[in-house]
Amino acid sequence: MTLRMENIGFKVGKKQLIKNVSLTVNPGELAVIIGPNGAGKSTALGVLSGDLLPSSGTVYFGKMPHNSLTFQEQATIRGVLPQLSNASFAFTALDIVLMGRIPHGEAPECKNALRIAREAMEQTDTVALMEQDISTLSGGERQRVNLARVLAQMWSDQATLPAPKYLLLDEPISALDPKHQVNILSLLKSYAKRGYGIVAVLHDMAMASMFADKIHIMQHGMVAYSGKPAKVMTSSILSDIWQLEYSVHRFGNSIMPIVACV
């Protein structure tokens, strides 16, 4: 079963933000969407996550339109990390992560919920922040706490998932330091290996090339290129999309696009 959007168009007023976009998220795959500002990356993710109602086209879980499932059912299949999450009121980081267990009917005192929240926070290196007020945390810390919430929501104790779950992440590492960027992307990669289908919007092309199984490059509201990093991260494609001089280097198995400044 895949999560996919077919021929999606999305308009605000007369402005067409994305047109004719089809994307498939395969289980076991870490897909990354890159593209210039305003290319429609967040809009595409918004449609895929159900935040935006497309003006044309449909989003499917397998063969079913996603809105034929109840919100609670959707919430057990698909977890979404928004670009910015600002909790009002003084919830602790742990409170926030425990909310990930709401769709599973687990109250915050529930032992299973607490165990999962703790493990998710270990994975995102936020255990030390557990008792802190979320609004006193830095942007990067908040990002990791919210990722822990989404992981807790999509938690599975099985090594390989019996059925796919999806993670949609809008710029999950934008506020993180280099070490946490690498750790979080490695973590996501390990989730993908267990059968999760993951889509992340990223801006860092080096990170994207290093970790992605598949890269979608968006431009002018459309998917311009899709494929394995080696195929789409070429100096001609990148230079064309960003209007910058890119040179692409190889370090072992990974590809490293570097922008050549004048």
Partner: protein
């Protein structure tokens, strides 16, 4: 075709998840953790209510109060020796309905404040803000001024009944307006509703101003009651329908505690956590309107309780709505009991409008709270 979708859905969920039947929701049983705090607040409220029955323009001793209560419940004349007959009538037909109405009205204002603050994700929200209170007051004032004198229907004077009914309908009309216009808005529903409330308040206040201009001296006095709030004229008869409405509304709002917690993360986040936010918003607004309209219909506009009480409870328990909502009902009841106690003792035998007391005490208290805890205000 629909069957096809259903069977696909069932297949998917059986294979994919743990089966549809196992999708549980968090239930009332999960409110257990906070039982100690809620019990403590409940006991404090009962003590304060008891003290309120003793004190007033005419003080009644604790022994008399207990004897009167036992006498009215038990079929046994032995208690009559402990109280004077006039004490019994003061307690049963004046003091007790007043204490009961302070509990019911204060509880309603506290609970609606807690819910609206979560719904608007704004710690400054309160029932007055979305126009419910002023909508209710406008129609009550309109009845006082425009239907001056008596309303006779089939030879019965129904003026006393028309007033609360009008207030309730006014509150409901304001809420439905907020909801209908808010529904068509794109983007953040809560923020739009807040702005609609601002507009409704302006319209209602203009209307009340015009009516004040048209009214004579007697009407002005009555009108002042609605604007400042008071529990002095409430009887058992007028309290009964109101308490039924408030009980229904509170029961509905308490069940929204967990969805409202998730909603504090943001509307989209709540939906991603499996919450039908349209249904939740609709319920929260309508139940709040119901209880605020009902409260205003008997007590007029009583400010600040809906604003302060949820803050007080959050200071003790943290922001989890499972405690904040129930705790705010109890704390609101206590605050209004106390304010009413002050209102009828400070210048006894005359009394102050209780809304003046809540505002005079609540305003500075809220300022102090802001300075001490540096309460964050975000939209």
């Amino acid at each position: 075709m629909p069957n096809d979708i259903t069977s696909q859905k069932a297949d998917h969920l059986m294979v994919g998840l743990r089966g549809r039947l196992s999708l549980k929701s968090i239930t009332m049983a999960d409110f257990r953790k906070y039982r100690p705090l809620i019990t403590l607040l409940g006991c404090m409220m009962v003590v304060l209510a008891f003290i309120s029955t003793l004190v007033g323009a005419y003080n009644i001793s604790a022994t008399s109060v207990i004897a009167i209560l036992l006498d009215s419940v038990l079929p046994f004349d032995g208690f009559k020796a402990y109280f004077a007959p006039h004490e019994s009538s003061i307690l049963l037909s004046i003091r007790l309905p007043r204490v009961a109405s302070a509990i019911i009205v204060g509880g309603a204002l506290g609970i609606s404040g807690a819910v609206l603050q979560s719904l608007f994700r704004n710690p400054l929200a309160e029932p007055g803000l979305i126009g419910v209170s002023s909508g209710a007051a406008l129609s009550a004032v309109a009845v006082i001024v425009l239907l001056s004198g008596q309303v006779i229907l089939f030879n019965v004077d129904i003026t006393a009944y028309i007033l609360p009914v009008a207030a309730f309908l006014g509150g409901l009309a304001a809420t439905v307006t907020v909801y209908m216009i808010g529904r068509t808005a794109r983007g953040d529903i809560a923020a739009t509703m807040l702005l609609i409330g601002v507009a409704l308040n302006a319209v209602a206040m203009a209307g009340i101003g015009v009516l004040q201009f048209l009214s004579d001296d007697t009407q002005l006095r009555l009108l002042t009651f609605w604007m400042m709030g008071g529990l002095g004229s409430i009887s058992w008869q007028s309290l009964l329908p109101v308490s039924v409405l408030i009980a229904v509304g509170c029961a509905g709002l308490i069940r929204l505690a967990v969805p409202l917690n998730a909603y504090l993360l943001g509307a989209n986040e709540a939906r991603h956590l499996g919450i039908d936010i349209k249904v939740m918003t609709k319920k929260a607004v309508l139940f709040s309107a119901l209880i605020v309209g009902a409260a205003v219909s008997v007590a007029g506009i009583i400010g600040f309780i809906g604003l302060i009480v949820p803050h007080l409870v959050r200071q003790i328990s943290g922001p989890d709505n499972r405690t904040v909502i129930i705790g705010s009902a109890l704390m609101g009841a206590m605050l209004l009991l106390f304010a009413d106690l002050c209102a009828r003792t400070i210048i006894a035998p005359a009394e102050l409008p209780v809304g003046l007391v809540t505002s005079a005490v609540g305003g500075p208290f809220f300022l102090w709270l802001l300075m001490r805890r540096n309460v964050r205000v975000r939209s």
